[in-house]
């Protein structure tokens, strides 16, 4: 059962091949047995999941359809009523959310069952899942290596077939990069497509919820359920949500695929580059035309991002002050001591680094030189994409410069770590939808193909990935050994 895709599971449940309860028991057993290797889960909600599975089975017996009884996991950044919501931080280790995030609510209404909350980089700040208060997550393809981040727990859990799908969030690549490093499919929709309500904010103008799945079809099913306007999020866009799954399978005949020159340079691992070139051939075989394009300002993405995101995070994380919820330092001397020690002890090093950077770039005398200038560059990057999309329908290239690296390899070098997101960050700055699909292996480790679309053109990038996955089997490969 655990090897099946989400679409396959949904079908099997509808056709009563097995019950939701059987499936949930099986997956809980796997999590119990295998997760000590991976550390993908912070919280497993076994009892609640079994209760929900039994209810789902009753609905399935009454002809309930859709995603009824399908188990998923939520990244621990999404608020879940009555369940610990830690955001990977000591700061929220004691925080039980009193409410559900919109994403959680919508996916539950669609019939899915939550098995637990997945590990993540602290407050989604990281690209290797090593900044979590709960310890690093390991990559099931090689447990000495990172799964990517920040949605590393979700990626590892899906890759190891502990759960068919999991939610994630992507501020600079946090869905796509771990999807690539774990050999699965991950989509970050257009900014505003999915409500941010109940998703603990890192950088509000960049954060977007999405999913990590085995296939593009699975992603399409979940994205249809979770998208759409939410009156509780002013930045969510009031535009109709297509049935993404129904749109799959269209021919790629006549599709123009752009390949960004700047992404195919010496920074990219040659074996990885070869996998991308081979993927382009597959797309050409499906009728697509490939065109080389340039995004002249894309090289400024990383520095731009590392001004904008920390600026927003420095303000967003001010609410964690030890007063109303979360970690509070023992016996504070006075108010200042309470603030300093609660935040000093509650946050980890990477979060503090970004809060300090963000505070600096917003400070009087530095605001214009950093924050304002970064916002201007951001506009240039977005304009580059807009111009590119006048001549191409999708942009395709690598998701990450290298496959999964070893645990600890980059933790002491934040700049090298930040460069992991060199191909993904520009997409967040421009607010566009992006997807990563498995497209090959380098030294036994998966690598990903990134597919970027126009704003609100999720249907098209899902279809390109789906057609690619009908021609290839990279997505169907799963880690062996204990995880088989």
């Amino acid at each position: 059962m655990h090897g099946m895709t989400l679409a396959g599971i949904a079908r099997a449940l509808r056709e009563r091949e097995f019950s939701s309860e059987e499936l949930v028991r099986h997956l809980l057993e796997r999590i119990g047995r295998l997760d000590s290797e991976l550390n993908a889960f912070i919280t497993v909600t076994g009892e609640a999941a079994l209760d929900a599975a039994r209810e789902a089975d009753a609905r399935l017996a009454d002809g309930g359809g859709g995603l009824t009884g399908v188990p998923i996991a939520h990244k621990d950044i999404f608020c879940t009523a009555g369940v610990k919501t830690s955001c990977g931080s000591r700061m929220l280790d004691n925080f039980v959310s009193p409410y559900d995030a919109t994403v959680v609510e919508r996916l539950r209404e669609a019939g899915t069952i939550m098995l637990g909350k997945t590990n993540m980089d602290e407050f989604a700040m990281g690209s290797s899942n090593e900044t979590s208060f709960y310890g690093p997550v390991r990559n099931p393809w090689d447990t000495q290596r990172v799964p990517g981040g920040s949605s590393g727990g979700s990626a590892a859990a899906v890759a190891a077939r502990l759960v068919p799908a999991a939610t994630g969030t992507d501020t600079g690549g946090s869905i796509r990069q771990p999807a690539a490093l774990a050999g699965i499919t991950g989509i970050k929709p257009t900014y505003g497509r999915v409500s941010r309500y109940g998703m603990i904010a890192f950088a509000s103008s960049l954060d977007q919820a999405g999913v990590l799945t085995q296939t593009a079809e699975d992603a399409a099913l979940l994205l249809t359920a979770m998208s759409g306007h939410d009156p509780r999020d002013s930045t969510s866009v009031d535009a109709p949500v297509p049935d993404y799954a129904a749109g799959l399978g269209e021919s790629l005949e006549g599709l123009t695929v752009g390949v960004v020159e700047e992404f195919m340079d010496e920074g990219l691992d040659p074996a990885n580059a070869a996998a991308i070139e081979a993927s382009l051939k597959v797309l050409e075989g499906l009728g697509a035309k490939v065109r080389r394009i340039s995004l002249p300002n894309i090289g400024l993405s990383v520095p731009t991002y590392y001004v904008v995101a920390p600026a927003e995070c420095s303000s967003n994380l001010s609410r964690f002050d030890g007063i109303r919820f979360g970690y509070r330092a023992q016996s504070p001397r006075d108010l200042e001591d309470l603030y300093k020690r609660s935040r000093g002890e509650g946050f980890g090093a990477e979060v503090k680094r970004r809060i300090m950077t963000g505070t600096y770039v917003l400070s009087a005398g530095y605001y214009d030189a950093y924050y304002l200038k970064a916002q201007r560059v951001r506009q240039l990057i977005a304009a580059d994409f807009r111009q590119a999309f006048e001549s191409v329908d999708v942009i395709v290239g690598p998701t990450s410069p290298t496959p999964a690296f070893e645990l600890g390899a980059k933790v002491d070098d934040p700049v090298t770590m930040y460069l992991n997101d060199i191909y993904t960050i520009g997409v967040n700055l421009a607010g566009l939808p992006g997807l990563s699909a498995p497209c090959g292996f380098v030294d036994g480790l998966p690598v990903g193909l990134q597919i970027v679309g126009r704003a609100f053109d999720e249907g098209r990038i899902l279809n390109v990935a789906h057609r690619f996955q009908q021609e290839t089997d990279w997505h169907a490969r799963a880690p062996g050994g204990a995880f088989a």
């Binding site: 998703m199 509000s204 002013s234 303000s315 002050d321 009087a364």
Partner: protein, 477 residues
């Protein structure tokens, strides 16, 4: 040296919406601590602000009423600082692009002179909660009921030149926001309060002196007292060769003085930046037209109309347009009478006096406008005299019923029958032969004596004009 005072006010008017500016929690005053703060107000992880559209209309109404430019696009910004009653660690306000700007308001000063005060800007923001330092031995309590209450911060140009002008300006804004129905103006509950920026400079100098900011003044009297104290303090410093320090001060009404709160040197760097959770606020011409069409008549327009339409003096027109409630009351009464001045005199005289004595607002008056009209109609149709009307008024105030009921019950109807009055007049003359003698020999002043006697004999009910006429004829013999 002669000194000139320069004052600018920042008025915080709490907007009269039922729910908060960025959440659905109620804004009602006086509930148990923290019972009116929802997850958004508490700044819980993951929650997001959603703008209450009502506040936008209110800000536009204020802008239109003060000749401000309504910004087609304004931006909410975060003002970042740590304080326990500020749940998110930032206040959502407006910084570089406020919702309305560059307007003015005309003041009528006590001496009748007019002065125009510039309004730099007015912006929307959320209020913080309240720290309670009493009752918690060594600790502070936090009440977040007020967190997220909508405020319009109205910033004046430094155009005010005295404490009196500052108070006149504050009263004019107070009157205006209540006219517009966008603020209840309740100063005790903190719905209308201000910060005053005060400096002095030698008369004739163009540059401003160093200013002090006096925070949180919540009565007209405190504004006046605080400014008077502060000006004297600054002048003393300068005249003794010292230097005024730019700082924030608090006014202590108990001791009638201002004291430093914190100096700007150690003030926070607020790190304002546009709030990424809220889209820029876009206000199109359609909304502006809609708000304009719904604007009530404003105090100044009403004053001018009262002069033109009812023939009132500028002073009376000013008093009767103090608030919409007073003006509406007056207009209801005046509308039913031919004598508009009679209506003005009674509303400003007997009624205002009685309300004042009882400490009541006009909206809580025991005599509503219809009842007052009923009374004054009886003066106008000569059923009673003005003097008797005062007795009727008191009876009505005490709840004895409407004017006609009181007049009948107490038998106060005026005697207008010439025959009856003539009989009394004849009796009075006959009873006072000595006074008649003196009157006829030229002592005209005694006419009043006879009037008094007739009134006394009729219990004040004789029609005064009729009494005059008859006395003149019969005394002449």
């Amino acid at each position: 040296m002669e000194w000139e005072t320069v004052i600018g006010l920042e008025i915080h008017a709490q907007l009269a919406t039922r729910s908060k500016i960025f959440s659905g929690a109620t804004t009602a005053y006086g509930a148990a601590p923290n019972s009116q703060a929802c997850l958004v107000d508490l700044g819980y992880p993951g929650v997001l602000p959603v703008l209450n559209e009502g506040v936008v209309r209110m800000a536009v109404a204020f802008g239109l009423a003060t000749d401000c430019t309504i910004a087609p696009r304004s931006v909410f910004a975060r003002k970042n600082y740590f304080y326990p009653d500020l749940p998110k660690g930032y206040q959502i306000s407006q910084y570089e692009l406020p919702v309305v700007h560059s307007g003015q308001i005309e003041l009528e000063l006590e001496d009748g002179a007019h002065k125009t005060i510039g309004i730099t800007r007015a912006h929307l923001e959320e209020d913080a909660g309240k720290s309670l330092h009493e009752d918690f031995q060594g600790q502070s309590g936090i009440d977040l009921n007020r967190a997220g209450t909508p405020l319009l911060e109205i910033v004046s140009e430094p155009d005010l030149r005295s404490a009196r002008e500052a108070v006149a300006y504050m009263k004019a804004i107070h009157q205006l926001v209540r006219y517009l129905g966008i603020c209840d103006g309740n100063m005790q509950e903190g719905s209308f309060r201000c910060d005053a920026n005060i400096s002095v400079r030698p008369v004739g100098r163009h540059e401003f002196g160093t200013r002090a900011e006096i925070k949180n003044l919540n009565s007209f009297r405190f504004v006046e007292r605080a400014i008077l104290f502060e000006v004297e303090r600054q002048v003393d410093i300068l005249e003794s060769g010292g230097r005024v320090v730019q700082e924030t001060r608090l006014y202590d009404p108990e001791r009638d003085e201002t004291r430093p709160m914190r100096s700007k040197e150690e003030a926070n760097d607020y790190r304002y930046f546009p709030d990424p959770d809220l889209l820029p606020l876009e206000i199109g011409p359609a909304l502006v037209d809609e708000v304009r069409a719904a604007l009530p008549e404003l105090p100044r327009q009403k004053r001018e109309r009262f002069v033109a339409e009812y023939g009132l003096s500028a002073y009376d027109a000013g008093v009767l347009s103090t608030s919409r409630a007073v003006a509406d009351y007056y207009e209801t009464v005046a509308g039913g009478l031919g004598d508009k001045k009679l209506a003005a005199n009674w509303v400003m005289g007997e009624l205002a006096g009685a309300l004042n004595k009882a400490g009541l607002e006009i909206t809580a008056s025991p005599l509503d406008a219809e009842a007052m009209l009923g009374l004054l109609r009886r003066i106008e149709d000569e059923t009673i005299s003005g003097k008797i009307a005062k007795e009727v008024f008191e009876a009505m105030w005490a709840g004895e019923g409407d004017a006609d009921v009181v007049i009948e019950a107490r038998g106060l109807r005026q005697i207008t029958d010439a025959g009856s009055v003539e009989a009394v007049v004849t009796e009075v003359i006959a009873a006072n032969p000595r006074q008649l003698e003196q009157y006829r020999s030229g002592k005209d002043k005694l006419f009043g004596f006879f009037v008094g006697q007739v009134m006394k004999a009729t219990g004040g009910k004789a029609n005064p004009a009729l009494v005059n006429e008859l006395l003149k004829r019969l005394l002449a013999g």
